[in-house]
């Protein structure tokens, strides 16, 4: 079955010439069609992309406020740190969710070449989610909280998110049912399975859980399984779709790689949740299961390099969005495949658990890989509806460097802080407050790098949103 893959791997390691492609498989050069399927309802994804880009810009600004307070704790604040952090964590999960749904809509339609079942539902879903998010952030900022990490959203807002996801699932399933045979397309089955599992993972988290152990187990259904399994499935479909738009990568080959990638993500991701269950009062076997499947999780991270390499070999359109895809793959390898795997190993984890190193990994994986992939694809989709002039392209490219260098700076500083915590708390047995004082210089460097990151984020959001507004104005003339 995977004969062709084995051949390929063999050819990488030997100097053997590549097997020649059968003449019938050589396709005439079609050039790159940046919008291969001109379906009108793809535009339903546009508002998702614009809102995602906007929320991302805003997210950086609030994060700065938090970082500032940690370094200058005597500054007066509008929002208490503990409430601001809850907002930060919720933003970190919710704008990528919104973006993922938008780009999944777009690339599902593109893959199965069908119009969306209902743009009305997509619009209702969108506004429902926007109001839910804004209400949630306001409530959290005011101190209402359900007090579980990442799941602080008060119940009405959790229900709003659940309802939004359900509308999404309904809409995409009805769309695929318009052409039932298209269920066999990788995009369809992967997006549908990812979405249904996302809903299933959220549902039990609506309730108050009496015992602390199941409470922790269920928390990671969102903080791990959403990000490293179910939503990641939707993201990889969109990444492959975007690569097919941006490059001349061979469609049939990339689709096979997509299936392999998705299979690996599911195979590894679900049981790798065990790497959050090492010290939660659960049986010891999670140390082995979590450890082994965390290693397996590194495989799709490295496979994503192969996927983008295939695309890089061919011609491509110059679009700033492509940089963000490269950035996403980079952090997938470094933040997820390398750092993530390192800290997931049980004997390492025992020493770094509960330190800033977790925060380092969280930012590199959740933003560096996931969020950056989402905003990159959103940027690409927006550029289909609003042409970017030279200035805008310059700004978008600038924002790419500011964001990524800023991220590297922030997380480098925080990683050092985490290593200090590891060494001094667990190694040397120092008291908590003594260590906290030592960390301030690193939190300060994080603040400075965070300024760079946020500047990039704001420039990025401004560029794409203003270009869209300009395009709309001139369309109305």
């Amino acid at each position: 079955m995977f004969r062709w893959l084995r051949k390929k791997i063999r050819s990488v390691f030997t100097k053997a010439p590549r097997p020649t492609v059968k003449k019938s498989k050589i396709q005439p050069p079609t050039g790159i069609q940046s919008e291969t399927q001109p379906l009108a309802t793809k535009k339903a994804a546009l508002k998702y992309c614009l809102a995602t880009v906007f929320f991302f810009g805003m997210h950086g600004i609030l994060a700065l406020a938090g970082a500032l307070e940690l370094v200058f704790p005597n500054l007066p604040t509008l929002v208490l740190f503990r409430n601001g952090r809850a907002v930060h964590l919720n933003q970190a999960v919710l704008w990528p969710l919104l973006g993922t749904m938008g780009i999944a809509y777009y690339y599902l339609l593109e893959a199965i070449k069908t119009e969306l079942h209902s743009t009305r539902i997509a619009a209702i879903q969108f506004w429902l989610l926007i109001f839910t998010f804004l209400g949630n952030y306001t409530a959290l900022a005011l101190g209402f909280t359900e007090g579980r990490e990442y799941l602080e959203a008060p119940l009405p807002f959790k229900l709003g998110i659940l309802l939004g996801l359900t509308l999404f699932a309904y809409n995409i399933i009805r769309t695929v049912l318009k052409k039932p045979k298209s269920i066999f397309q990788p995009a369809s089955i992967i997006i549908i399975s990812g979405t249904l599992l996302t809903i299933f993972l959220l549902a039990p988290n609506l309730f108050f859980i009496t015992h602390p152990i199941p409470d922790k187990l269920l928390t990671f259904w969102i903080s791990h399984l959403w990000e490293e399994a179910t939503l990641e499935l939707l993201l990889v479909v969109a990444i492959v779709g975007a690569l097919l738009n941006l490059t001349e990568a061979k469609k049939s080959y990339i689709k096979k790689l997509l299936f392999i990638q998705a299979t690996l993500i599911v195979l590894a991701g679900f049981l790798a949740v065990g790497h959050h269950y090492y010290w939660t009062g659960t049986p010891n076997f999670w140390l082995y299961i979590g450890g082994i499947f965390s290693v397996v999780q590194a495989i799709p991270a490295f496979l994503s390099v192969l996927i983008i390499w295939e695309a890089l070999k061919t011609k491509r359109i110059e679009n700033p969005a492509f940089n963000f895809l490269l950035g996403s793959v980079f952090w997938n390898v470094v933040g997820v495949g390398m750092l993530g795997l390192l800290i997931a190993t049980p004997f390492v984890n025992r020493w770094v658990h509960g330190t800033y190193l977790t925060s380092t990994h969280a930012h590199l994986a959740l933003f560096g890989f996931f969020g950056q992939g989402v905003i990159g694809i959103c940027a690409y989709i927006i550029s289909n509806y609003a042409t970017l002039d030279k200035k805008a392209i310059f700004r978008a490219n600038l924002s790419f460097w500011l964001i990524n260098l800023g991220l590297a700076g922030m997380e480098g500083a925080i990683a050092i802080a985490g290593l200090l915590q590891t060494y001094l708390w667990y190694g040397a047995g120092w008291e908590f407050m003594k260590v906290q004082f030592l960390l301030r210089p690193y939190l300060f460097v994080r603040l400075l790098a965070g300024l760079m990151f946020t500047a990039g984020g704001v420039i990025f959001a401004y560029t794409y949103i203003s270009k869209y507004i300009t395009a709309r104005k001139s369309a109305h003339k």
Binding site: R82, E149, P186, T210, K216, G281
Partner: protein, 130 residues
């Protein structure tokens, strides 16, 4: 392409099934899912006050305050009651005080933290090397 489809779908069922089975097994393995009433009320206090944003339990949470998993071993009940009564300044700030709790809430929270303390968690945190 259909072969890949079947492998993918089969993997979904197998992985999700295995994960659910092992999760249920872990929950059944807990000595008793029964949480005493006052500890339960303490969990409500813990959640309502957003303690997890700065503190950690089992090492998960915020990194700006100590881990609370074994706090009731380190500190006596008296010390904790005084803490929530006096609301000390949170260093390095010179004015911001730690959130306070009423006496009932304090009692419940202490019971909850004692309950958490008794849970065996595989020798974490590690003992200092020195």
């Amino acid at each position: 392409m259909k072969k890949y489809w079947f492998v993918y779908v089969a993997t979904v069922f197998v992985s999700v099934g295995a994960f659910l089975y092992l999760t249920l097994f872990s929950i059944n393995h807990i000595a008793s899912l029964n949480v005493p009433e006052d500890a339960l009320l303490g969990k409500v206090v813990w959640q309502q006050n957003g303690c997890i944003e700065c503190h950690t339990i089992f090492g998960d949470g915020g990194y700006n305050a100590p881990d609370m998993t074994h706090e009731t071993t380190r500190r006596t009940g008296e010390w904790l009651r005084a803490f929530f009564q006096n609301r000390p300044v949170m260093r390095p700030s010179q004015s911001k005080r730690h959130p306070g709790l009423g006496s009932e809430d304090t009692e419940h929270l202490i019971r909850y933290l004692q309950f958490v303390d008794r849970i065996k968690i595989n020798n974490w945190p590690p003992k200092p090397l020195k």
